[in-house]
């Protein structure tokens, strides 16, 4: 459950959308729109072979993109 590598999180904040790396005290970058933040995070995550979590207004996960090959498998139906 512990996150060892620094994934990206696109997080809603009062002034817009922040792209933050796991455990970082400061935002990597701030954006006015969620779509701009997601675009930036995905492009940078590809270069770094890491993952991107896009959060909703309540902190839930709206999407997860893996560029590290660690995407958890969905349950078998």
């Amino acid at each position: 459950m512990a996150e060892k590598k620094a994934n990206y999180h696109v997080i809603p904040e009062p002034t817009g959308w922040a792209v933050r790396r796991s455990g970082a005290s400061k935002a990597t970058k701030l954006f006015e729109t969620q779509s701009d933040a997601v675009k930036y995070a995905r492009e940078d995550a590809k270069k770094r072979n890491t993952d991107v979590y896009v959060h909703t207004r309540d902190g839930s996960i709206s999407s997860r993109n893996s560029y590290s090959g660690t995407n958890p498998k969905p349950p078998k139906k």
Partner: protein, 205 residues
């Protein structure tokens, strides 16, 4: 855990309130307090009000969210449990002795002054308006606990970020265990508290 680290949480525990409940619980746990909720004792045989009174007696702090007491449609009843439990908490402080005199309450609402239409006795009380925004729950709970318990707590944005990281880690863990996204979205308060405690033990910063 000791009386002075217990926080009685008086709020709805339904699906609609989960977006507010999750950051509320996380903020309390992050600041190293213990949230006490009615659900934790529902399986015992005692009447519900007796269990609630036990939680109130054992908690120095109380967080009361009155934002969902209003009936939503014609014919629906006003939700009275939350104002009733707030009254019990205030009564414990006013009529109790010793540690109970130290009790502190945070009352939350959607908008400032809206509650006065329903409970005008609370006029001049300290009410925090969260506007239905999960981030503002973190902000208001952190501000209140920091002041009342004389903490040196990190800022609300820091706690909000850690909360989002927890949500991501918990999502991965539960997906790997076979939970669907819909099941994850409805995880109840008891399971959430256990998962938050485990994550915070490993990741507190």
């Amino acid at each position: 855990m000791a009386f002075d680290r217990n926080v009685f949480i008086n709020c709805p525990f339904d699906k609609q309130y989960l977006p507010m409940l999750r950051p509320l619980l996380f903020t309390v746990l992050y600041l190293q307090f213990r949230p006490r909720i009615a659900l934790e004792t529902l399986n015992s045989g005692a009447p519900r009000v007796t269990k609630i009174m036990g939680l109130i007696r054992g908690s120095q702090y109380g967080i009361h969210d009155l934002s969902r007491i209003q009936a939503k449609k014609k014919g629906e009843f006003f939700r009275l449990n939350m104002p009733f439990e707030l009254g019990l908490d205030v009564g414990c402080q006013v009529f109790g002795k010793g540690n109970w005199r130290k009790k502190k309450c945070l009352i939350m609402e959607v908008e400032p002054y809206r509650y006065q239409a329903a409970i005008s006795d609370l006029s001049n009380s300290d009410i925090a308006a969260h506007g239905g925004d999960p981030y503002r729950v973190v902000l208001e709970v952190r501000k209140w606990l920091n002041r009342e318990a004389k903490l040196n707590a990190p800022g609300a944005t820091h706690i909000w970020t850690r909360f989002n990281e927890f949500m991501a880690a918990n999502y991965d863990k539960l997906r790997a265990e076979g939970h669907s996204p819909a099941e994850i979205a409805e995880l109840d308060a008891g399971e959430l508290i256990r998962a938050m405690n485990v994550w915070l033990r490993r990741n507190r910063s």
